[in-house]
Subunit: 95 residues, 5 copies
């Protein structure tokens, strides 16, 4: 999974009909210190994530293993909201 | 999903028979400000997207989850046309 | 899909038995102007592509969606030979 | 598979219900000499890996081929803990 | 497929039980001239490849399309040993 920060929303009215009701969030990937990078992904939001929250995203066919995304043309999904992470015993992020 | 801009069309007459009738568009990836990058992908067009439109593309097996692309050798599909997106509360793109 | 140019052939006699009879071509990826890059992929040839031809390749599980590659350990396939492409209304390549 | 070192833990209480009980570890990729790189992945831990251990991670749909991860929105899994590796006949890592 | 050279072996005793008996080789990717790059992958060896041999590796779900790797958490497999390859009509590698 990738570690990222929800920074925005992508709105689309013309889309595959099965995508109706799915929210697409713009998630900027972060490094292990939590610093934003220039990489980002647009992910379906299976968690009701809010702006500024740190999240985990799953890609590829794994992105379709949620009730919301099953059998849909979606290749990235937010499947967890991060509370904390640590590196080498030091806390790097607390929500 | 990737965020990209439709910039061209790829024409092919000799192709897998099941691909007959599918339009292949050249989609240049954009950054979060909407600026074109040097990366691009050739995607099947499930939406009737036009030149200059901002779109979302899904990759891998997820690209085959549309009626048009099911069971076909296609690894990228345009599954949504973007109206707007915002970053940190600021609108970055309006169609 | 990736846009690439057929530049060579990879020959292998010791291989998974199901791969018998499949030709593996060396495809160098090109940029949107058709200029060769340093990236390349070895792809199964489902089209009878010849040296110098511009082709589209599909990757991952999508590479197994042709009669020739079905259920085989192949992660890239040439599924179309390109006639032309254009960018911003200008023809960039004609076969 | 990627070769990486377990350097931390990612904690999430709000997540897809099926992910309950799965531990997510932060794995920093290493080069062939065992030196840490700046790349990392968050992987489900199918092995009970501990901090500092060198591991192999499998990505994509292959990450769902363990009892713990089957049919779950997980795109990276630790499926082996590394004892040793060698390059050109020289041992590069011993646990 | 990627073109690579077998340069080492990764040994693991604690691993998913279904991986018992599978040999994991360290494969360094090469460029089209056969020169080693800094990129590498750890791949299951379905071919009995030896050190120094040039091989093709298949990634993702395609890596599970061999008898040895079917339904196992493996995302890269050696499915062919390379005899020769040529670029623009010139032989670049002969075993």
């Amino acid at each position: 999974m990738n570690l990222g920060k929800v920074v925005g929303t992508v709105v689309s009215t013309r889309k595959e009909p099965v995508l109706e009701g799915i929210r697409f969030l713009l998630v900027r990937l972060v490094d292990t210190e939590g610093k934003e990078t220039s990489s980002f992904v647009v992910a379906a939001d299976a968690m009701g994530a809010g702006p500024g929250e740190m999240v985990l995203t799953a890609a590829g066919s794994s992105a379709r293993q949620t009730t919301m995304t099953q059998n849909k043309p979606v290749d990235a999904v937010i499947m967890a909201i991060v509370d904390t992470w640590d590196i080498d015993g030091k806390t790097k992020y607390v929500k």
